[in-house]
Each structure stands twice: as C-alpha cells, then as structure tokens.
Symmetry: C2
Subunit: 384 residues, 2 copies
C-alpha cells in the first residue's frame, strides 16, 4: 500500500446559499481545491452526500458533479453513510490512491439543506436512524440524542449546564473562521437560556443545518513531495455499530468510535496523548462528550470536565473544533466530514490566523453517522 497525502483543499462558506445550487456549491469547492493543488485533471471523483435525493431532487451526483467541474469522463460515485458521508468519501479516495488504483483523486462533500422546510429536513435526517424501529415511534434525530443526553446526565450526575463548554468553545473558534455559519461568541448564560428543542437538548446544544461544500485532492505521498503544502494521511479507519440505541448494551459507550479510533491509533502508531488537536463531531453537545470519551481523551463520564476546565480551547490540552466545529461552522451533513479534514489541513499548514495552534504535528478528524453507527477517523500529519 502507498502512503497518501492531501495536496489541495477547497471550501465554500457554510451558510444559507440561496443563489447557489447543489452542483454550484460542489464545483466551487472542487475548483478551489484543484487551484490550491495546481492540478488540472484527476483519475476519480468521489462525492460525499446524504440527502441530495430527498432534499435537492438529484441523485447520480458522481457523474453530474464530475461533468460540471470540467472532469467529464472520469470515475465518479456518491458515497452515503448518513452524517459520516463526507469522511466516507475521503476513505474511498484514500483506498483508491493507497491501493494504487488512482494517482490523483478529488473528494468533495456537499449538502444543500436550507431550500426545504424544517419538517422536511428533520424527516430527511431521521433516515439516518432505524426506519422500522425508531422513526415510526416518532423519534427524530434530535430526540434520539436527547435520550442519550438524559441517560448520560442520570448515570453520571451531570447537569445540563455542564455541557455549555462544548458550545462556547465552538462558537469562540467560529468567530475567526470566515467560512463559519455563526461567527458570534456564546456565553454560558445564553447557552442556559436557549429554548428547549427536545428536552434536555436546548437550541445551543445542537449544530445548525446549512448548505456547503468542501473538497480535498489526494495523491501518493511520493508524488506529493513536489507540493510544498501537502499533509500526510497517517490513518484512515472505519467502524460501525447498530443503528438503534435499543440494540446497544450500553448506549453511553460509542463502540464504533472506540473501534475506529483504536484502529486509527494503531495505523499511525500513536495514542491520544500524541494528538495535537481533534476535529470532533459535535453535532450535539452529548456527542461531543461521548466521542471525547470513546476516543480516549477522557474517562467515561468525564467528557464535560474537559470542557469545564478549558482543556478544549485553542490553548488547552486537546483543542477541538478549532474552526468552529459542527456547532459554530455549521453542519451541512454530507459535507461535514470533508470540512473537518480541510480545517485540519489548514491547522497543519499553519494558515488558521487567530485560531492557529502553535506548530501542531498530528491532527485527528472524526465524522460520525447517526447516533454513532458509522464512524470514520483520520489522523493527519504535517509533511516533513
């Protein structure tokens, strides 16, 4: 297997794009990534997307976007793994390059969600849950996370306000990200007084849906040495779990996060202590806590403590959501996993401005589908 590097990145702002269609957003990101890498052609294009069929009225995104980006003819597919679709597409690109089936692969994650009503989007997101055993009982995706959060608070004696730190740090970091949806700081008081969405989840526990696209260009590290700004992919690891919470022995243990992180650490030959920053999947504050714990950054039940003690800030022990995370940058579901990797590359390149960490060497990204049923973890390293 070949070592794989990222030689180009591109992204659109995450917002309500009333004047750009799904294909335009994807093209904006792909063309930016191509320019960034200084390449003209690619061997394949893999698209991460969850809801284009249901919301944008368009499947067959692979061929569509390849054509629209001036890449007509190349191999192109869409990959879907609910909210983990973006990183799943990167995983596919990684496989193609690592395995020697392609030399230059472009991966784009794209989602256009705000053209639809909130009800339609909620129904769309519920397709990530079990359509036979969860959704018919009235469970939305927020409700599933609310049950997890309630259970967590009960088991560990945690108050709702203990989760404030996750949202506060995300919003703080989003202030300096020109591509973030919400560039406003958040106080713990505002977190506490936000309206209830699905008890105990309040508005500021939840990440916002959005429109957006992000893209990366992959090639063998051997060839990437010609590019000054390349970043190596040290690990690419996937694990799954059952969709339904009721099938899990202990819903507070995200087994797929544990397994995906374990495999990633093993591939890279590192442990959590070696990771300089963590682009985690803070779709809800409860997911932030659970993924920190399952990834080895905190003991079970101690995730919120990291937030309370300031360890997740840019100058903390394990900075997270360094450009705003899902909460601050926004969560265009099928694009999110690619945004995470794009932002990690920015950190490793040292171009994050006010949010720049001091010389990070290893960054970890983790994209979670459903309530932890599909987890894709990547570890990226600054190139030598």
């Amino acid at each position: 297997m070949r070592d794989v590097s990222i030689i180009g990145i591109g992204q659109t702002p995450v917002q309500e794009h009333w004047d750009r269609s799904l294909r335009h957003l994807a093209a904006d990101a792909v063309l930016a990534a191509k320019r960034d890498a200084g390449i003209e052609r690619a061997d394949a294009l893999y698209v991460g997307n969850m809801l284009s069929g249901e919301i944008a009225g368009q499947e067959h995104l692979g061929a569509l976007i390849a054509d629209f980006c001036g890449l007509r003819g190349i191999e192109a597919f869409k990959i879907e793994a609910a909210c983990a679709s973006g990183a799943a597409a990167i995983r596919m690109g990684y496989m193609a390059v690592a395995g020697g089936l392609a030399d230059v692969v472009i991966v784009v994650g794209v989602e256009k969600m705000t053209d639809e009503t909130g009800e339609a989007v909620a129904a769309g997101l519920a397709l990530a849950a079990d359509g036979d055993y969860e959704v018919p009982h009235g469970l939305t995706f927020v409700a599933i996370n609310a049950m997890l959060m309630r259970r967590y608070m009960y088991e560990y004696g945690i108050e709702h306000q203990d989760f404030a730190g996750f949202a506060v740090v995300a919003h703080q970091n989003a202030v300096n990200n020109p591509n973030a949806r919400f560039r406003s700081a958040l106080t713990p008081e505002r977190f506490a007084s936000a309206p209830v969405v699905a008890e105990p989840i309040r508005l500021m526990d939840a990440s916002p849906i959005a429109d957006g696209a992000a893209a990366v260009v992959l090639c063998p590290t051997e060839q990437a040495r010609a590019f000054a700004l390349s970043v190596r992919i040290r690990a690419s690891a996937v694990a799954t779990d059952c969709l339904s919470l009721h099938d899990r022995r202990n819903p507070l243990r995200l087994r797929a996060v544990e397994e995906s992180a374990r495999k990633a650490y093993a591939q890279a030959g590192v442990g959590p202590d070696d990771i300089d920053f963590f682009e985690y999947h803070d779709a809800f504050t409860i997911m932030a806590a659970l993924s920190l714990e399952a990834s080895g950054f905190a003991e079970p039940g101690k995730g919120t403590q990291l937030a309370r003690e300031g360890e997740l800030a840019l100058n903390g022990r394990i900075p997270v959501a360094t450009m705003g995370g899902l909460k601050g940058r926004g969560h265009p579901v099928g694009a999110t996993g690619v945004y995470q990797v794009v932002e990690a590359v920015q950190q490793l390149r040292g171009v994050c401005g006010a949010n720049q960490l001091p010389g990070p060497r290893l960054g970890m990204t983790q994209n979670i589908g459903g309530s932890g049923a599909t987890v894709v973890t990547h570890i990226l390293e600054v190139s030598e």
Copy 2:
C-alpha cells in the same frame, strides 16, 4: 495491486416481495453469499442502492445491513450511481481487495421498489437524470429513452419491430431462471402489440422495476485458490458522461460505455471477440442496441441486426442476458449490477442448467446509470 476473485454469490428472487423488508432482502442475499463462500467474517461490506431514502424511508444502509447480517462493527458504506449503483459497489469492493486494504469484502446490491406507487417510483428514477435541466421539463426516465430511441430510428432507418429481438431473447432466457420476475416467453407479435408507454417505447421495450438483492464475496485470488468455485475479476472499469442528452454531441454514441469498455478490454488484454457472453444493461431495448454498439459488438446502427439474426441467443455469436437480463429477470435498480455479476459467475461455474453456455471462459458485465452517464464494466474469467 492484487488480483481479485469472487468466491461466493447469493441472490433473492426478483419479484414483488410483500413479506420481506429492504433489510431482509439484503440479508437473504448476503447470508446466501457467505454460505456459498463458506466464510463467517468479512473486513468490509459495501452496499449498492439508489432509492432507499426516497422509497424505503431508510438511508445509512451500510451500518444497518452489516448489523442485520451479523457483521456489526465492520466498515460499511452505501454507494450510489443511479442504476449503476450495484456495479459501483462491486468496484469499491474490488478497490479495497486489489489495493490490499481488505482481504474479504462482501458487496450487496439491494432495492425495494414495489411498496410505492408507480408515480413515486417514476419520480425516484428521474433522480438519475438532470434535476435542473431535464426533469423540470416533464421528462421521465422512460421519456428520455424514448427520445433516444426515436432519434436512433430516424438516423438509421430502423423500425420499432426491429428491436423485438432484445426483449424476445431476454424473456426466453428468463423462462429457465428460477429467480427471474417474468418466466414467460415473448413472441414478436406480443412485443409489437404491447401498449405504448412513451412513444416509440412500448411496454415490452422496458424492463420492470422489482424488489431484490444480490451479493458477492471478494478476496485476493491468491487466497481464492482454496475455493473450488472462484472466478477471477480480470477487469473493473468505470467511465462517466454528462447526465443530460442535450449536452452530448451525438446522443447515439454512449461515450461512457465506449470508454469503460475500452479500459476493461485493455486491463484484461482482450477484445470484444474474446468475450463469450455479455450481461448487458437492457433497461430499454434502445439501451441494449446502443451498449452493444459502444462496447464494440456491433457497428453504430447495427445493434438490432445482431438481435434479428439470432446472434444474441445462447447459441449465438455473443449471448446476452443469459438469465433473462433486466427485461426478463427484472431491474431492481441498485441491485441490478450485482445480479449481472452473480449470473456471470453462475455461467462461468457452469451451473446455469438449461441456459448454460458451453464452457465459457470470459464473461463481461456492464451496468449503466442514467441514460449512459455512469458505466461500470467488469470482465470475469473462469478460474484455472
């Protein structure tokens, strides 16, 4: 890169499965393929599916089906490329094994379409076409193929009845396939008198939608030698084209078929004359003609001649649709590409009963998404 073989196959009957849900169909095929291969575990599961979100109310099929098949925890994604989703998933499995990222991969194609109304299914299938430039003008998927067929008849001076042979040979072969949806022979007279769907397409030009699932197990050929019934994948090749007919210089040339077939022939080091049978994508009779021509089995405009002269029958020059094809076996869209490969493996194993070809060595399968925008071609060879 490693040589890849197929060591197990499984399929459900193609029909209206009122008593099996989408996950049950997928599990039926996966468990049959596991039994056939004699394996218990796999490293990854890739799911080919187009419309589960729109029609079955379920995305996130990778984790769902992995869990339901007793494979909880393994890497699992859904791949979508319209009607080519099944073969696209096989392509992904091929990449994982060829590239050394996985040793045992299961690929399942599944689609459950008949729970919905015909209108909803037609709207779903139209998602394969261009949602901005084709569908809003009222074009259904049948209408797009009707335009192609009309143009073909005009350019080459072909009558509707000249297409009869494609449907007749498919139905003839389906008679002996216990998994086929329509096990009834078709006469040219019945073809001619079928009701019009979208002029000039009549009912017997079009393949039927259906429910069904098919699965294959892949592993490196080196390890496959332990399995008596393995079949080698000699080529796996993908090409794309623009979605819209109006963007193609000559709509009667399926460029992606040409390119996908060209790459496949080059990989296998063979030409059309070396292919013993062709599991082609006869979604419509016009697609049958165009894909035969673009794959090098007939000159442009001469595809129907092959059918008229009996060259597509089991004892002809290039047998097609040997177990009924999309027209006779049925076309559960995201599953079709896997059915084609499963049937090709059956031919190469010599287990096709009354439809068995005499000692075939090389079989080609070709799965087409949209009106030729994504094409996945595989060449399979009987193992030594």
